[in-house]
């Protein structure tokens, strides 16, 4: 009797977990930043398993402002490369904008050997293409620069991602109320309100840039970008906000985390390092 009860409880826990943290059935992919991963859902029942982004799920990345399109794009590319790391298969990038630049994506780990760019003429085609790609299990990851998207459409995409076991990433570049990037021809970044709408994405990130202050000891050593990353919503996890720095080799590091027992990286000394072309990142960590 006691055994049955335990089994029943385990079953129920599993069911609750599936509802609370959907998409974790196919495993999770840690971001590699302990501070962030702790907020993400766990791979298995209990707290013992690794935490990370659910693979077979839809994720959403919003640009904090119009001028943060670059940061949001880079962060999305980084996530896509990370999610597709362990599988073969192309990364399909659906866009309506003419300004995606492949060398920049390459630098974020989405190389020309894997990238397939799909230029959709309209939003309907774009969502159709995303869903079609998400249902193909051999695809590494699907990124869609979707503009207007309601709950139903995003739920379809999430179901497709679950069915195909393919990570899907919605990149929302229209967060601001019009402005700098708006004038791009064919960019499809019309109204600014849609990104506030609820979507079925398992995680929702808001990405902007962070100013690198001279007194920010952790930041000054890096020439990579600094991102202000907010995890607004996370099913099976909890929200949070961090300043992340991109290290050489596409490793992320959170500000203020350097003091944690991080492997092979001693806490950088306080230093103001000039931001010049001649410095290689490895030598940039001058000790002042």
């Amino acid at each position: 009797m006691a055994l049955d009860r335990q089994r029943l409880l385990a079953m129920l826990r599993e069911q609750v977990r599936a509802v609370e943290a959907p998409g974790t059935g196919r495993g999770v992919v840690p971001l590699g930043v302990p501070a962030v991963d702790a907020h993400l859902p766990a791979a298995g029942p209990g707290e013992s398993g690794a935490h990370g982004l659910p693979r077979a799920a839809l994720h959403e990345v919003m640009a904090a402002g119009d001028l943060d399109a670059g940061a949001a794009t880079a962060f999305t590319a980084l996530l896509a490369a990370r999610l597709a790391e362990q599988v073969r298969g192309p990364i399909l990038w659906m866009t309506r904008a003419p300004d995606l630049y492949a060398p920049g994506l390459d630098a974020q780990g989405v190389g020309p050997g894997r990238l397939v760019v799909v230029h959709a003429a309209n939003e309907v085609d774009l969502l159709w293409a995303m869903e079609e790609a998400l249902r193909c299990p051999r695809v590494g990851a699907v990124v869609g620069e979707a503009g207007g998207l309601d709950l139903t459409a995003s739920r379809r995409l999430h179901l497709a991602a679950e069915a195909g076991g393919v990570p899907g990433l919605l990149l929302r570049l229209n967060a601001g109320k019009g402005g700098a990037m708006k004038g791009l021809k064919g960019a499809g970044r019309g109204s600014g309100r849609c990104s506030t709408q609820a979507t079925a994405a398992v995680t929702r990130w808001k990405v902007g840039t962070a100013p690198i202050h001279a007194d920010d000891s952790a930041a000054s050593a890096f020439t990579g970008p600094a991102w202000r990353v907010e995890l607004l919503r996370c099913r099976g996890g909890r929200p949070g906000a961090w300043t992340l720095y991109e290290r050489e080799g596409l490793r992320l590091e959170a500000a203020g985390q350097a003091a944690m027992p991080a492997p092979e990286t001693p806490a950088p000394a306080s230093a103001v390092v000039p931001f010049t072309a001649t410095q290689l990142p490895s030598t940039a960590r001058a000790v002042g």
Binding site: L67, T73, A77, P103, G104, D106, V118, R138, T209, P211
Partner: protein, 566 residues
């Protein structure tokens, strides 16, 4: 045994023009076309009514007017005739994929007084049963031509020569297989496609009928045939013997079709025209199934295929409606081929309905089926293998479409979104940022020769040069405050917003590529660009460049914003 249909259109030129006349030509009005021949206006073609008034091609226009004052005269349009005839040949592919234009004969050929007149040749071997038999096919063809106001006579026989002869001279419209000898025996000699000079010389020795020539050729004993034929050729010319042999099917005469027919084709003729989407879908899937079976038998797959549909109300010069789709790797899965066609089906305009539909494989290639079968459950093994870095790009061919499910996905996306929308972005050796990316269709095979695969280093963007992740399609002019000559800006203004530069990096000088341009084509980038990475107070990173250098006394160089970093 081949079955050839020869269609003769004795008055095609005038019939075709009469169709387009407004107001329409009253029935029975003589119509001729005129042509300027060495300064003299002559009659080029006549219609049936003019022929009845004894007007013939080749006579002077003045003579024709004298014979028949009521005659209507229009300018001849030989090129238009050829084009119309080609359209007719396309239309006739509703009966068979093997159709060819039979050009007008030179003067003197064909029945006397009727002129040459063009025609069509069709190989209907194995096609007649679709319409219920050869007689029915002929009736259908003649009925449709008559409806279009085009006079035509058609005959079916075993050889081009026999069908040609029967269409012009004979009364037996369908010569049964093997019946050419009897059918031709009573026909006059011009029925052998012999010119007037040859006919005249044969007449002089008393030969008038094809049968007489045949007896000479066959001789009396079976063993003598070849010797007698040699004698015939020696006496009256090789052309006579050749034409006789061709008409009797003793030598093969090739029929070169107007369009190369494909080996894998399926057609469907329906009694009730198809117009509903469901009906069309069912018909196309049926055809795809048949094509797939044919591909399987040949061990091939389709790289591209075409769906053609003929509407019931289409005139004789209306080409079929065509949908073409391509597959990135040879494919013969009817379900996949249907998925490619399905999104395009709404482009068909069935109107009152299609009565003939055909699917043909326009490009077939060997099918490497083994790979597809092996990959069926290969996902598990592949999932464990981490992706090779760098080297994968160097692999000859296209790594993406090597995987059948990915190839099919690329096909589906391309079929719905249109050409040029599913792309791979590959490195190109250029320092100019907007030229450093080469977009190639995702389904395209890399065109580099497999013998010499390019080194991976050439196929990557240099990692030591930071590049933005968003590049403006056109660099946008900005106003800057920058110390001269080579310092990064302190302040810049873009789209009515001012940005204060916190940190900057640069310059990276990009020189114009000297091999670009020349006298004929000016270099689009004549001046050097100095690129700076700048960061504003909030950490946003921009890619600015200064076009040109500072010159004392010259205009200050202009600045542009080109992209955004991640």
């Amino acid at each position: 045994m081949r079955r050839i249909l020869s269609l003769w259109l004795p008055t095609f030129a005038t019939d075709r023009i009469a169709r387009g006349l407004t107001p329409p030509l009253a029935a029975g009005t003589p119509l001729v076309t005129r042509l300027s021949d060495r300064g003299r206006l002559t009659v080029a073609a006549v219609n049936a009514a003019a022929r009845a008034k004894r007007l013939v091609p080749g006579m002077g226009l003045a003579d024709a007017r004298a014979l028949e004052p009521q005659v209507q005269v229009v300018d001849a349009d030989p090129e238009g005739d050829v084009a119309a005839l080609e359209r007719l040949a396309d239309w006739a592919r509703r009966y068979t994929p093997w159709t060819a234009v039979d050009p007008s004969d030179p003067p003197g050929f064909g029945p006397k007084g009727l002129g040459g007149g063009p025609g069509l040749l069709m190989d209907i071997t194995g096609c007649a049963h679709l319409l219920g038999g050869e007689h029915e096919l002929l009736l259908d063809l003649e009925r449709r031509l008559a409806k279009a106001g085009v006079e035509g006579r058609a005959a079916i026989a075993d050889s081009i020569g026999a069908a040609w002869a029967q269409a012009r001279f004979g009364a037996q419209l369908v010569v049964p297989p093997g019946g050419a000898v009897e059918a031709l025996a009573d026909l006059p000699l011009p029925a052998l496609r012999l010119g007037p000079d040859l006919v005249a010389s044969l007449r002089r020795v008393g030969l008038r009928r094809v049968g007489e020539l045949m007896r000479m050729a066959q001789g009396t004993g079976g063993g003598q045939v070849s010797k007698n034929r040699a004698a015939l050729a020696a006496r009256y010319g090789a052309q006579v013997a050749l034409r006789l042999d061709q008409a009797l099917g003793w030598v093969e005469e090739p029929l070169s079709p107007r369009r190369a027919p494909t080996r894998h084709t399926a057609r469907l003729t329906v009694v009730d025209p198809l117009s509903t989407p469901e009906g069309l879908a069912q018909a196309v899937r049926h055809l795809l199934g048949r094509v797939a079976a044919s591909l399987t038998a040949a061990g091939e797959g389709a790289r591209s295929l075409e769906l053609e549909a003929w509407r019931i109300d289409a005139g004789h010069d209306a080409p079929p409606q065509v949908l073409s789709v391509g597959a990135s790797r040879p494919n013969r899965d009817p379900a996949h081929l249907w998925r490619l066609l399905e999104p395009r089906m709404d482009q068909l305009e069935p109107g009152p309905g299609f009565e003939v539909m055909a699917v043909s494989v326009t490009h077939a290639a060997p099918f490497d089926g083994g790979q597809a079968v092996l990959d069926g459950n290969g996902l598990a093994d592949l999932a464990g293998a981490p992706l090779a870095k760098g080297g994968e790009v160097a692999a000859a061919g296209n790594p993406l479409v090597a995987d059948p499910p990915i190839a099919e996905l690329v096909d589906r996306l391309g079929a719905r979104l249109g050409p040029g929308r599913v792309l791979r972005l590959l490195p190109r050796q250029s320092w100019i940022p907007e030229q450093a990316v080469r977009a190639v269709p995702a389904e395209a095979q890399d065109n580099s020769p497999p013998a010499a695969p390019p080194a991976p280093a050439q196929l990557a963007w240099p990692a030591d040069r930071p590049r933005p992740i968003r590049l403006l399609p056109r660099p946008e002019a900005v106003e800057v405050v920058a110390p001269i000559p080579d310092d990064p800006p302190l302040l810049f203004r873009w789209r009515d917003q001012t940005y204060r530069v916190g940190r900057a990096e640069g310059p990276e000088r990009l020189l114009p590529e000297w091999w670009e341009g020349g006298e004929r084509r000016p270099n689009p980038n004549p001046e050097p660009r100095d690129y700076y990475r700048v960061e504003d107070g909030e950490g946003r990173r921009f890619w600015l460049y200064r076009l040109g250098l500072y010159h004392a006394g010259g205009p200050p160089p202009r600045w542009f914003l080109h992209g955004f970093f991640g």
